[in-house]
Amino acid sequence: MPEQKYSRKDFASDREVRWCPGCGDYAILTQVQKVMPQICDELQLAREKITFVSGIGCSSRFPYYMNTYGFHTIHGRAPAIATGLQVSRPDLQIWVVTGDGDGLSIGTNHLVHCLRRNVDLKILLFNNRIYGLTKGQYSPTSRQGKRTKSSPMGTIEQPINPISVAVASEATFVARTVATDTAHLQEVLLRAAHHRGTAFVEIMQNCNVFNDGAFDSFSTRAVRADRSLYIRHGQPMIFGKNNDRALRMPSGNPEIVDLAKFPKNKLRPYDETSERSSTANVLAHLNEDQFPVPLGVLRCIKKPTYSELLDDQIQTAEKRRGKKDFMTHVHSGEIWTIDG
């Protein structure tokens, strides 16, 4: 393999990283910085073409730590601002960094519409199931009953699931990973970078100060193999330390089968390119306590992006009406002349 143009340190800014010690955000930053040289290499991208746009939250401080272009905007609006940037600058590769409060509370509207438009953006939603920056209130993804500063008796709200929101919004790329599984995180980031259209990635991230251990039940090294389900395109949904169990969905109802009893060849391979989103949707809704937690690329389909369609219209219009300039335009149609 030819040598890469960039190395990891080309993507590290000189700014001091200010997350709490032990915060899951560090791991994400490291993996993003690590994978960027490969992305630039594979996509023939120059570093200056990469821009990180974020909202507000601990997670949204991310752009300051990347040695790329960055725009730390306002709470919840990063997808909108990134849409404007992408539509006017399709030459850029734009990453949006958002949190569970930023992206799924104050900014849900923009997230949903960005996904349905299929704007060519890579959206990383750092889900720590808590409001970190404002010091520990429950978020829309906090589990019901979660005791926080603003819910001392436990939240009574039904949480929202980032993956099902993305699937319901017709996202063309939907993936989930955990910050602690660095190899998997890198793999998913690379896939997202290669996707044309909105790539939505939920990254489960531990906030060790306000919601420590939120993902331990399935993501620690000890339990990961048994409690996580790594989805891979074209392969059946097998999991377990010894690859001895599988998830299947006869008529849409999820069930776990023991491969000692169930013939492996009767398992259906997972199809991330399926136009129908029902399987992804069932996976998104699996009860975390009873089923393994699905990770990986759940959906990846090809559709024209927003700016491709917009630029097509511009070209069609130019062809049909001639590429006029302003003066020709205002001098045509209903005009009249007054002589001096």
């Binding site: 700014r15 120059a46 570093r47 200056e48 073409k49 821009t51 990180f52 746009v53 507000i56 752009p63 300051y64 990347m66 040695n67 790329t68 272009y69 960055g70 725009f71 730390h72 905007t73 306002i74 609006r77 909108a80 601002i81 990134a82 849409t83 404007g84 940037l85 992408q86 539509v87 006017s88 600058r89 030459d91 850029l92 509207n109 923009h110 949903v112 519409h113 917009l310 511009i314 219009a317 130019e318 049909r320 009406r321 001639g322 590429k323 006029k324 300039d325 302003f326 003066m327 335009h329 205002v330 001098h331 149609g333 209903e334 005009i335 009249w336 002349t337 007054i338 002589d339 001096g340």
Partner: protein, 653 residues
């Protein structure tokens, strides 16, 4: 009795009499095609060389119940051989296609004025829906003193288009063209221009449909109706004499008729051409700003990108994204939308990006009066954000002026790297007037430079003249940096919570805006340089103020007017002007918002003329106040000329 019958034979036909100007209002149900009628006649007037000014009024509900007062739509045209600035206060002619249209509009027609009624609509149901109850305004004295011409417009139209075999519904839709024909005859116009316009109108529709045959028939029907109206007037000799309005003495050039919203869109298009930067317009539909979105959406072939955003916050966000990317980021809305955009505008102030926000003001607060005009968002534009958050605020004064001010918005936004508010309003947005298309040489310079030298690059280093920071855009090698809404360290642009730095940055951002005063034109005075009274206004009240002051000057009064188009910062010569007048009157369509600013800034005891009815300011309202303030009694001053007085009333005869 006021109603007249046509009595041919008793009248001798005279040569058309000459009038300086005529104010006609077409009124009917919102489904009657009133806007189209007015628009057609207006374009014809402009093409004939008159100066024109128009005013539209339509119901807030799209399908208000047919025949009710709430469902009345109107289009007013003032066409003149002299220079005009407003659509006029008092009508000469009112065309009422139904009783509700008469009821709603009669107040604006002074005694002696002409009323053309669609007699067919004055039946029991029509009168009831218009809340006239049992009594018919045609013979209960309501119309005493007016010249009333009841014409069975519906049945005459149906008869005219009968040969085409259209259904009644489609056939009666042509009655608006019948009235156009009728009015064309009264004002002694050839109808070929109007017929050509009918053709053009349907040609457009034909091209867009799969059933062009249908539109072939509609074209013919409308042509027939138009001719029938003209011929009817000619034959029946009901209008005793024609009158004629001469050509206006407009400066030589090529013109087109523009509404304020169209001119705004064209101004932005020009800004894109001049700067060489593509335009991105992101907007969420809202009355009365939607036409800007509609207009700009037509310009795909000129490289314009429009996005209908999911809400106003997204719209301003997209515009900021485009500005960050080095393009023209533009958003437009009305007051409620601006409320939503406030936080993001603050971001653009902090990030010092060239963003333009159009607010086509409407009646507020809250949803308020969506289709009515007001100027009550000035303080919102000035201060409606958290923190010390100065932006440039400018306001066009007439429909055609929207073009130049839209260009100004970008000239200033780019040169000073700042958000700029363009405060239009419903009155000028929907009103129209002739716009002389400027030459390339008349357009401002909007030069753009993006830094590309990594040596010594600092994101918040300022241009010493303008205090603008560099517009360093993604994609430039070596200039990678991060901006955002957190306070920035002076010059270096890094996040800074330092208190002394914060204070310095607050002052710098303010100073940058204040400096722009040296780069905007001086305020022009209309009238003497000093005197008893200065009438000072801003925005869409320009025409009414100017006209009123002109009338007062004719009485020898020492009064002048000045109109502020640059509201923040204010032009540097305003202070001197204010000092040179004994009194200052400030008419506004709000409770004195600019007046508050002017009093605070210049310590002058300006007096307000506040109108907040959703209706535009009228000449006579300003005029009366001027006379009152100057203790002048306009007794002996002729009543405003009733331009219909050349039509001999049979009653008088």
């Amino acid at each position: 009795m006021a109603i007249m019958d046509a009595r041919p034979g008793e009248i001798t036909i005279k040569e058309p009499e000459v009038q300086e100007s005529v104010i006609i209002r077409f009124a009917g149900d919102s489904g009657d095609g009133i806007q189209l009628t007015g628009s057609l006649f207006t374009h014809d007037s402009a093409a004939l060389g008159h100066d024109i000014s128009t005013l539209t009024d339509f119901p807030a509900e799209i399908r208000a119940p047919v025949g009710t007062r709430a469902g009345v739509s109107s289009f007013q045209l003032n066409f003149s051989s002299g220079e005009i600035h407003t659509p006029g206060d008092r009508l000469d002619v009112l065309v009422a296609l139904n009783p509700a249209a008469l009821a709603v509009n009669l107040n604006d027609l002074p005694p002696g004025g002409i009323i053309i009624l669609n007699e067919d609509a004055f039946n029991k149901t029509g009168l009831k829906k218009a809340k006239y109850g049992a009594s018919d305004p045609r013979d209960d004295g309501t119309l005493a003193g007016y010249q009333v011409y009841p014409i069975p417009i519906t049945s005459l139209t149906l008869a005219a288009v009968e040969p085409l075999g259209l259904g009644k519904k489609h056939a009666s839709r042509c009655k608006n063209m019948f009235t156009v024909g009728l009015i064309a005859w009264i004002y002694d116009r050839p109808i070929d221009g109007l017929l050509r316009q009918v053709d053009m109108l349907f040609d457009k529709k034909k091209r867009r449909t799969t059933t062009p045959e249908k539109y072939e028939i509609f074209t013919e029907a409308n042509r027939l109706a138009l001719r029938a109206g003209y011929n009817y007037a000619d034959t029946i000799e009901m209008f005793i004499s024609k009158c004629r309005v001469g050509k206006a003495n407009l400066p030589a050039g090529t013109y087109r008729r523009v509404t304020g919203n169209e001119a705004t869109a064209l101004g932005f298009l020009a800004a894109s051409t001049i700067s060489g930067l593509e335009l991105l317009y992101a907007s969420y539909p809202i009355t009365p700003a939607s036409e800007i979105l509609h207009e700009l959406s037509k310009f795909r072939h000129l490289g314009v990108r429009t996005v209908q955003a999911e809400d106003e916050i997204a719209a301003v966000g997209m515009a900021i994204g485009a500005a960050y990317g080095g393009k023209l980021g533009l958003t437009g809305t009305s007051g409620p939308g601006v409320a939503l955009k406030s936080e993001a505008i603050g971001l653009a102030v902090m990030a010092e990006l060239p963003l333009v926000i159009v607010n086509v003001q409407r009646g507020g607060p809250s949803t308020g009066l969506p289709t009515k005009t007001e100027q009550a968002d000035l303080l919102q534009a000035m201060y409606g954000r958290n923190g010390e958050c100065p932006v440039v605020v400018i306001a066009p004064q007439s429909p055609a002026d929207c073009f130049g001010m839209a260009l100004e918005a970008y000239r200033l936004a780019i040169k000073y790297m700042t958000p700029v508010f363009l405060l239009s309003d419903g009155y000028i947005a929907n009103g129209s007037e002739p716009w002389r298309i400027p030459d390339n040489s008349e357009l401002p310079d909007i030069s753009v430079s993006f830094p590309d030298d990594p040596e010594e690059f600092q994101p918040y280093a300022r241009n010493p003249d303008t205090l603008a920071r560099p517009w360093a855009i993604p994609g430039t090698p070596g200039l990678e940096h991060c901006i955002g809404g957190i306070e920035k360290e002076d010059i270096a642009g890094k996040v800074s919570y330092d208190s002394a730095n914060h204070e310095r940055m607050i002052h710098l951002r303010d100073e940058k805006i204040q400096k722009i005063a040296n780069d905007v034109p001086n305020i022009e005075l209309f009238g003497p340089k000093s005197g008893d009274l200065l009438v000072l206004g801003w925005g869409g009240t320009y025409g009414a103020i100017r006209h009123a002051v002109q009338n007062a000057q004719k009485h020898g009064l020492s009064v002048a007017s000045a109109h502020i188009r640059y509201l923040n910062p204010l032009p540097t010569n305003l202070g001197d002007i204010l000092r040179d007048f004994k009194q200052v009157l400030m008419p506004e369509l709000n409770s004195g918002q600019l007046r508050m600013l002017i009093r605070a800034e210049y310590l002058v005891d300006a007096v307000g003329l506040e109108k907040i009815s959703g209706q535009p300011l009228q000449t006579n309202e300003v005029e009366n106040r001027i006379y009152k303030m100057l203790g002048f009694s306009p007794a002996g001053k002729p009543e405003p000329t009733i331009t219909a007085n050349n039509l001999t009333s049979i009653q008088e005869a």
